[in-house]
């Protein structure tokens, strides 16, 4: 079976940190009040008036080497067949938080129901050919979603032609959310 390496590539030159991606995710996925699966980080360096500010839309990195899945004692955290997308089975999850401790991105949380939740890369949308809600909502079109194993995909093209970085590469998780700089 063909393996897909799904990624989101985010152009920080376009991103304005407006958090539309956060609201789009919350409504699409009915994330309860008080929780979010994606969020905005602002990073400012320099001193007045020589400044640089970067906004980043952050979420689960759907790592190719996912520490959350390795850490899960029940098998609730798993990698979807045929891709790198990490998901959580609420029936198997005991809410032990091992995955939360293992995740270097702080991408996971425990819902009041007692199981862990996080970004799914909107697999229910991807399965029918739609982009994840965050990607499709973004007014600046700063995000692209696709398969890095497909050299003709938009994400592959962007990663070939632009400079990029990932968050916490030193963690060895092989993250799949990229930031164009």
């Amino acid at each position: 079976m063909k393996t897909r390496r799904y990624a989101i590539v985010i152009d920080t030159l376009r991103c304005i940190g407006c958090a539309d991606c956060v609201v789009a995710c919350k409504t699409e996925n009915e994330v309860p009040e008080g929780y979010c699966r994606d969020w905005i980080t602002e990073a400012t360096t320099g001193t007045f008036p020589e400044l640089h500010t970067e906004y980043r839309s952050e979420r689960c990195n759907h790592c190719s080497n996912p520490p959350c899945v390795h850490a899960c004692p029940t098998g609730a955290s798993f990698v979807a067949d045929g891709s790198n997308v990490t998901l959580v089975d609420p029936e198997l999850c005991t809410g032990c938080k091992s995955c939360i401790a293992a995740c270097p991105y702080d991408a996971r949380f425990v819902l009041p129901e007692g199981y862990v939740s996080k970004c799914t890369f909107c697999m229910h949308r991807v399965e029918v050919g739609l982009d994840p809600a965050c990607v499709s909502a973004c007014p600046t079109r700063c995000m692209a979603f696709g398969d890095c194993n497909d050299p003709d995909s938009e994400v592959s093209r962007l990663l070939r032609t632009r400079t990029w970085k990932v968050i916490a590469p030193e963690a060895g998780t092989e993250p799949n959310v990229y930031y164009l700089t």
Binding site: C18, V23, A24, D89, H124, P139
Partner: protein, 742 residues
């Protein structure tokens, strides 16, 4: 739509097949139960256009199993290009907000003083009609003033005109974009409109003067700015604050606030003196060049340096950058421009600069918009008012092109201004005047002089607390409104249709007007039974129907005009000279500067800082703070304080302070300090709209501070009556000690 609904169902079914990488599982795991769409779910889509701000993006309201789900943009819509902004995406929160108004309220006098009691619609309408009929018979229909914001106001405006009043107003003019509109009228004979006719996506150079696109989420402009960035446009941002736009810019000019006009004149000076202007364009279309040249002769970059604190080399370099990219250089006119009291003249300088660069009517500058206009249904002529708002101060504001909300407020507060023109009733539709007009104590004083204040709103905004009658409207997701016809590159219309039945005992404005009109003897102006009938007849004018629009949401009509001037095309401008007026004879004739001239503004006293305010991408004015979805993104504002200033006062990041203005007024609520390098040390900044005092707004009450209550030293633009916000100087009230640190 049906296809889309089926797709979702198929997708949900398909997800059952998800399996687990063998090396990582103990037994088969399945996350599909957590996915938002499950087999058998019933999904509906209803067209709407957004009411959360004035951009009016068209989209689809989704329900799932009859419950609210999400709102997304309509791909056919040129306002949104299929993508809503943060606020539009969060529009569902307006519907789900548990703090919404639920039933009509009547102010009554009880043994313990005044309070509201719940009323039936009949009672509310009877009360309003009795008071309004008394106002009309005693003072005349002119004594009713209507304040509005938003698209639901259509029929209330008709009602007001039929009642005999032309005093229909909105703070969006004299408290926001008015100076810009009048400056462009004076220069080009046309305004820039809304959405603005700015061709940002094709701009090679974009100049933003205090305009923080990206924080103000005017959707189309934000999208086009991102496109311009992608295409390598050179962005120049003039702002005391390192705004989001500044962070995208090639040149950030951290100007000393209140000196923008000096910079603009220096730019004009450079472009004129170095011969960088578009000679052919200036010769063909403009008048007054020699007068302009003489007027700016002394406005050198060296002259502007000590005023603006911007180095002459930077001023020259940015002027040359603009000229190099012209005519695809857009010096953006901004939107909220009521800053210092000479805002029309500052906006005139923006218009003149654009004219010199030849950007009006040119690709990458300002395009010529197209729009759709509907004929009103036949109705009796409106009674001719004996006086209008313009007669309240007949010798002032000769260039006001629209009614001045603050003037109507002031005349209500001080009847001696125009003793024979009393304003005795206010109808306030969706406009929280306590937060929208400066000097709220004047607004409250005016309200004391009224026989009747009716507030129509969806939430218990502060203005409702001052009303005699509160009429609870259903949200935009629960009603039809007028067809969207606003201008753009193509002629488009959009429909707003209800996705839900009205909640609680709320009603659409159209229904309210239909009930009220016969009680005022005005039913002849409303010859329709309901909005469906009214809209269907309206849509027939353009060969469409309600049925079609319910299906497609947005329709593009033929007949758009050319976007740009053709090479060498002759053009008659709607100005007295028929040309673009670099020097304005009509301004000179009225005793104003024909060419803008810089005059210094007041400076903060020692220990005080200039208070600046702006927008958040998560909120619109003061009207969305209680929206549960948007409140989660931003529940309070913070106070931007430069690191050096914070050190001077011993302020820590996150510390709560109150602000005191130079008149001694202290903010009702404290605000958290945000220590940052991203602002000049002489200025403070907060997002407008927070610090609500209405406890019924449970998520907004007491969160953050309200800049509006601190606005002082309100200079009024003598050309058109705009009220300036930025001559406000504040200092810190440190919470822990209760005494002022020095």
């Amino acid at each position: 739509m049906n296809n889309r609904r089926s797709f979702l169902k198929i997708g949900a079914l398909g997800l059952g097949g998800l399996a687990v990488a063998p090396t990582l599982m103990r037994r088969r795991a399945d996350a599909s139960a957590t996915f938002p769409v499950q087999p058998g779910d019933s999904v509906t889509m209803t067209p709407t256009y957004c009411e959360i701000c004035f951009w009016q993006c068209a989209g689809w309201t989704f329900t799932k199993n009859g419950r609210p789900w999400k709102i997304v943009g309509n791909p056919d819509d040129r306002h949104s290009n299929g993508r809503f902004c943060t606020r539009g995406t969060g529009g569902m929160g307006a519907y789900t907000d548990p703090d919404r108004l639920r039933t009509p309220l009547l102010r009554v006098e009880g043994p313990d003083g005044q309070h509201f009691r719940e009323a039936t619609w009949e009672e509310a309408f009877d009360y309003i009609a009795e008071k309004l009929n008394h106002v009309r018979s005693t003072y005349g229909g002119e004594s009713l003033a209507m304040f509005s914001h938003g698209n639901g106001a259509t029929h209330f405006k008709t009602l007001t005109k039929a009642f005999g009043s032309a005093n229909i107003t909105a703070p969006s003019y004299a408290q926001c974009r008015g100076p810009r509109d009048d400056a462009f009228l004076l220069t080009f004979g046309e305004t820039v409109g809304s959405p603005e006719r700015t061709d940002i996506e094709n701009s090679r150079c974009l100049v933003l003067i205090g305009s923080h696109i990206g924080e103000n989420l005017h959707n189309g402009q934000v999208q086009e700015m991102a496109t311009a960035i992608e295409r390598g446009a050179e962005i120049i941002v003039v702002d005391p604050r390192f705004s989001v736009a500044a962070s995208k810019a090639k040149h950030w000019l951290p100007i000393k606030p209140s000196t923008d006009l000096a910079l603009l004149l220096a730019w004009i000076h450079v472009i004129v003196e170095e011969g960088l202007y578009d000679r052919e364009y200036v010769d063909r279309y403009t008048t007054g060049f020699d007068q302009l040249k003489a007027a700016v002769a002394s406005n050198t970059p060296e002259w502007a340096y000590p005023i603006t604190t911007l180095h002459p080399d930077v001023i020259r370099e940015t002027a040359r950058t603009m000229a190099r990219n012209a005519p695809a250089t857009l010096v953006h006119p901004g939107r909220h421009v009521t800053w210092y009291g000479d805002d029309t003249q500052r906006s005139r300088a923006v218009a003149i600069l654009n004219a010199l660069l030849g950007s009006w009517g040119r690709k990458g500058g300002f395009y010529f918009p197209s729009e759709v206009a509907f004929e009103d249904e036949p109705h009796p002529p409106y009674p001719k008012p004996r006086w209008t708002w313009a007669d309240l101060a007949p010798d002032a504001y000769p260039f006001a092109s629209s009614s001045i909300a603050s003037l109507i407020r002031d005349a209500t507060a001080d009847p001696s201004m125009a003793p024979d023109k009393p304003i005795k009733a206010w109808l306030v539709y969706g406009s929280n005047l306590i937060y929208a007009l400066p000097e709220p104590e004047k607004t409250i004083q005016a309200i004391q002089n009224l026989d009747l204040l009716v507030a129509v709103d969806i939430q218990p905004a502060e203005i409702c607390g001052w009303a005699d009658v509160v009429l609870p409207e259903c949200t935009y997701l629960e009603r039809y409104d007028d067809i969207r016809t606003s201008p753009g590159r193509v002629r488009q219309i959009a429909l707003r249709a209800p996705a839900f039945e009205p909640s609680f005992d709320t009603k659409p404005a159209a229904w309210m007007v239909k009930q009220l009109a016969p009680r005022l003897g005005l039913e002849a102006w409303f010859p329709w039974n309901d909005m469906e009938e009214w809209l269907d007849r309206r849509l027939a004018q353009v060969g469409s129907s309600l049925e079609e629009m319910r299906r497609i949401g947005v329709k593009t009509l033929d007949g758009e005009g050319p976007l740009y001037l053709a090479e060498g095309e002759a053009m008659e401008f709607n100005t007295p000279s028929g040309r673009i007026e670099l020097a304005s004879e009509q301004l000179a004739a009225a005793g104003f500067d024909a060419v803008p001239r810089y005059t210094p503004h007041d400076e903060p006293p020692p220990g005080y800082y200039r208070l600046l305010s702006g927008r958040s991408p998560a909120h619109t004015f003061a009207r969305t703070i209680n929206n549960p979805l948007l409140n989660e993104i931003q529940s309070e504002n913070d106070l931007w304080v430069n690191t050096v200033t914070a050190e001077d006062w011993g302020l820590k990041n996150g510390q709560e302070v109150r602000l005191r203005n130079s008149a001694g007024r202290i903010s009702t609520f404290p605000i958290r300090v945000r220590v940052t390098e991203r602002i000049r040390p002489d200025s403070l900044y907060m997002v407008h709209g927070f610090g609500h005092t209405e406890k019924l707004l449970t998520k907004a009450f007491g969160r953050g501070a309200d800049d509006n209550e601190l606005i002082e030293n309100v200079k009024i633009d003598p050309l058109m009556g705009a009220t300036a916000r930025r001559n406000t100087f504040v200092t810190f009230e440190i919470e822990e000690t209760g005494v002022e640190a020095v």
